[in-house]
Amino acid sequence: MKKQQNAIIELADISKIYYQKSQLFHTGAGDVVALKDINLTINKGEIFGLVGQSGSGKTTAGRLLVKLENPTRGEIYLKGAPVSGLKGRELKEYRKQVQMIFQDPYQSLNPHLSIAETVMEPLIVHGAGTRESRRQKVLDTLETTGLVPATDFYDRYPHRLSGGQRQRVAIARAIVLEPEFIVADEPSSMLDATIAIQLFQVLLNIRERLGMTFLFITHNLAAAKYLCDRIAVIQNGVIVETGHTRDVIDHPSHPYTKTLIASQPSFDICPIL
Amino acid sequence: MNRIVFISKKAVELFILFFLILTVLFFLFRLAPGDPVTRMVDPMLTPEDAAHIIEQMGLDKPLTTQYMIYVKNFFTGNFGFSFHYGEPVARVIMARLPCTLLLFTTSTLLAALAGVFLGKISAWKKGSRMDGVLSISALVCHTLFVPWFALMMLWMLGFQVGWFPLGGIISPELWIEDAPFGLKVLDVIHHMILPLLTLFIIHVGSYLLLMRSSMLSVLKEDYILTARAKGLTDRVIRNRHAAKNAALPVVTSVGLSLAFSINGGALTEQIFTWPGIGRELIFAVSNNDYPLAQGCFLLIAAVVLSANFIVDLLYAWLDPRIHY
C-alpha cells in the first residue's frame, strides 16, 4: 500500500470536558471528561479508523474536527495550521476542506428539501459555480455515490428513499465541495449489513477517484479492519492503542483491545463462499 | 440537598417575577394620561385627608422615592384606601378572598379530577362512540363563551325552573339573623351550585382534552407494549402504567392554564354576583376606584404565581426522573 507520510490533520493534546450546568456551586462532581489528552495524526489519502464503544468519546472527536464543538484544551492542525480561533471567512474556508457524514440517514436530511437542494446547499453557501454548473456538479456527485440514474433522484424528497439511498445522498453532500478530509461518523450503523458493505464500497471508490482522506468512526472492529489503513482504539476518552490495522488486530497489546476483539461476533462460514 | 436547591431556585424566580409585575404596575399607573394624584386619592375626601394620603404615599416626592414608598407600602400590606368603600383596600380584598378561593379551588379540583378521569376513558376507547361523544362535548365546553353560558344557566336553572337563587353567596335573612351554622353552610352551597357548575363545565373540557392527548401519546410508548406482553389486565395497564404517566404533563398545564381559568372565574363571579376578587376588580375598574383595582390585580397575580409554584413542586415530587 502506498503511503504518503504527510499529515493532513493533527490533534495535539486535545481534551474535551462537559461541565455540569445548573449547579449552585461548581463542584466538578458531575463533569464529564469526553476526551483526555488525545494525540492523533492522520495522513493524506488514508482512511483512519477510530474504534470504541458508545460513550467512549469517539463521536466527540469527530465533532471537534468539523468544529461543531471546540476543545477545552489542545489544538487541532489542518495541514500544519492551527484551527482553534477560526471565525467568519476563515471558518468558512475551513469548512470547504473538512466535511462530515452523519450516523443516522433518517435524521441527517431535511425532509423539506429535495435531494438536489440538499446536495447543492454547500455549493450555494460557498458561491461555487453558476446555476447550470451547480446542477451538473450535483448530478455528477450523485452518480459517484451510486445513485444512478442521478436524474431519477434529483427532484425527489428524502421520505421516498431507503436508508442506504439517504446515506448516499448524505455522502454526496459531503463530497460535493471536494474537501480534503471527511469525518464519517458511524455511517453504516443504522443500515443492514448488505447495504453497509455497499456503502463501504462507495467510500473506497471515492477515495480512489478523488484522493480524499477519511476519519472513519465506528464501534465495529470488523468494519474498521475492512476499510481502514490505520486505527486507534479509544476507551473512556483515552486512546489506548494505535497503529496499522492489521498489527493492532492481530497482535493487540492493550487488554481493552483484546476484550473488544474477543467480543466481536463471528461464525463459521461455509467454505464455498 | 438537591431538592432544597430546586425549591429555593423556584422561590427566588417567583419573587423576582412578582417584583417585576409590581414595578410594571407602578409605572403603568404613573404613565397613564391624567394626574396620578387624582388616581390615588379619592376626589371626595376633604383637603386635609387628601393631603394626609398624598403625604403617606409620597405622591409629592420624586418618582424614585415614590417607588420606594410604594414597595414598602406593599410589603406592609398598605394598598391605600378604596374610594368607594372608604376602607383600606387590604381589608376589602381580604374579605373577598375566601369567597374566590372557595369557588375557584373547588371548581378547579373537581374539574381536574373529572377531566383526568374522563380523558383517560376517552383515550383508552379511542375511536369508539363514547370517545366521540366525550371529546366533542369537551371541545364544546372548552370553546363556550363564559358570560353567555353563565347567563344561560342563570336563565334556565335559576329563572325558568327556579331551583337556584339568582345571585349572591348567602340569603340576606340568614346573613342578618343569627341563624344556625349548618343552615348557613347549606345556604352557601345552594348559592354556590350554579357558579360552580358553570365553572366546572367550562374547565372540565380542557382537562379532558389535555389528558386525552397526553394519554394517547403515552399509549404509544414501548412500555405499554411491555405491559401488554406481560399479560397484565387492561385495567392495570390503563391505570398503573398509562394514566399515571399521562397525568404528569396535565399537572404542569394546570398551572399554565390558570390565567385562562381566572378570566372565566372573574366573569362567572360578575354574573352570579359572587362577592369575590374578580367581581371586585371589575367593579373597581368600572367605577374608577384605582387603589382597589390595583390591590385586586396584585392579589390575583400573587395567587397565580403561587399556584404555579405549587404545581412545580408537585411535578418534582411526582416524577422520579426530574433533574433538580
Binding site: L221, F267, D268, I269, C270 | A229, R240, L248, P320, R321
Partner: protein, 320 residues
C-alpha cells in the same frame, strides 16, 4: 408433539394503498428446549411474526390466514382474555432495551413483581421478593439495585432486567426481538452468554429475531432466513451456514463482516431502484440476484424440501 406449530401464517397491514402482506405464508415448528432464529433485513416481517405469536399485532394489522398452535391450543381461535392469561405465563417476550421498554416511573423490581402477581395469585409478598432476588441473581443484577428506577440503569442492566421479567413465570416459550441491538459489542457478548446459559438451564422454547446473523448463529439451532414476508430458506445452523442454497442467504453470509473474512467479502449487486419488488410478479429477490433465470421474473418460486430439516424457496437446483 411440538411445543409450537405455526401453519401458513399470513399477516396483512391496512395501508393507504390497500392490504400489504408483512408475513406471507410462513410455517415452522419449535420443540421444547430448542431455539429457532429468524434473520432478515429491516422490513422483512420478522418482528410481525413475533407480535403475532404474542397476540399483540397493532390495530391496523390482521391475521389473514393460518394457525398458531401452542400445546394443542390454537391461539388464533381463543378469546382476548384467554390470550392475556397466556401472555407472560406461557409465552414471554424479551424486548429491545434501547426501546423505552420499562416504565420510567415504576421501580424495576416492582415491574418484575407485577408479572408474578398477575399470573400467580397465591403467592405471598415474601415469596415474591425471594423470587425476584433469585431472578436478578440469575441475570446478573446486584440485589441492591432492585428498587432503582429504570433511568438509573445502564443499557445492559435494563436488558438484563427485561430478561428477568420474561423468565419470571417460567414460560414455555420466549420470544426475543432484537435483544442485543443497540448494545455495545462487549455488553452484547455478555448478554448473549447470559441467554445461552439460561437456554441450557431451562427447558424453554426460544424464538430469536435479529437482523444480525452472527447473533442468531450463536444462540439458535434452527434458522429461518426471511425476505419481504416469506421464508426463503430454513435449516439447521450447520445447513444454513455451511451449505446455504438460496442466493439471498449466500449474499447475507457473504457480505457479513467479521474479523476473519475481510479479504474475501462479496459485495452484493448494488440496486439503486426505489422501493421493493414484492412477490406478486415472480421472485421478489430477482432484482438482487446475481444470476437470475428467465422464469424468475414471471413465476414465484415454490418451496423445495432438500432434507427433512433443510428447505428453500428458489428454482435453482445446484448449490453453486
Amino acid at each position: 408433539m411440538a411445543l409450537l406449530t405455526v401453519d401458513n401464517l399470513t399477516v396483512g397491514y391496512d395501508s393507504a394503498t390497500g392490504m400489504t402482506r408483512a408475513v406471507d405464508d410462513v410455517s415452522f415448528t419449535i420443540e421444547s428446549g430448542t431455539s429457532l432464529g429468524f434473520v432478515g433485513e429491516s422490513g422483512c416481517g420478522k418482528t410481525t411474526i413475533g407480535m403475532a405469536l404474542m397476540g399483540l399485532l397493532p390495530d391496523n394489522a390482521r391475521i389473514l390466514h393460518g394457525n398458531i398452535i401452542l400445546d394443542d391450543q390454537n391461539l388464533i381461535k381463543i378469546s382476548q382474555e384467554d390470550f392475556r392469561e397466556i401472555r407472560g405465563r406461557k409465552i414471554a417476550m424479551i424486548f429491545q432495551a434501547a426501546m423505552n421498554a420499562l416504565n420510567p416511573v415504576v421501580r424495576v423490581g416492582d415491574q418484575v413483581a407485577e408479572m408474578i402477581t398477575t399470573h400467580q395469585t397465591a403467592v405471598s409478598p415474601v415469596e415474591i421478593s425471594v423470587k425476584i432476588e433469585e431472578l436478578f441473581d440469575l441475570v446478573g443484577i446486584p440485589g441492591d439495585r432492585i428498587n432503582d428506577y429504570p433511568h438509573q440503569y445502564s443499557g445492559g442492566m435494563k436488558q438484563r432486567a427485561i430478561i428477568a421479567m420474561a423468565l419470571a413465570c417460567n414460560p414455555r416459550l420466549i420470544i426475543a426481538d432484537e435483544p442485543t441491538t443497540a448494545l455495545d459489542v462487549v455488553v452484547q457478548d455478555q448478554i448473549l452468554k447470559e441467554i445461552i446459559k439460561i437456554q441450557n438451564l431451562l427447558d424453554t422454547g426460544f424464538v430469536f429475531i435479529s437482523h444480525d446473523i452472527a447473533v442468531v448463529a450463536r444462540v439458535c439451532e434452527k434458522i429461518c432466513v426471511m425476505y419481504d414476508g416469506k421464508i426463503v430458506e430454513t435449516g439447521t445452523r450447520e445447513e444454513v451456514f455451511q451449505a446455504p442454497v438460496h442466493p439471498y442467504t449466500r449474499q447475507l453470509l457473504g457480505s457479513y463482516l467479521t474479523l476473519d473474512n475481510c479479504n474475501n467479502i462479496k459485495v452484493p449487486y448494488i440496486n439503486s431502484r426505489l422501493g421493493q419488488k414484492g412477490w406478486e410478479h415472480g421472485c421478489a429477490l430477482a432484482p438482487l440476484c446475481d444470476n437470475p433465470m428467465d422464469k424468475c421474473d414471471r413465476l414465484c418460486p415454490g418451496w423445495r424440501q432438500l432434507s427433512p430439516t433443510h428447505g428453500v424457496r428458489c428454482f435453482k437446483k445446484s448449490t453453486i
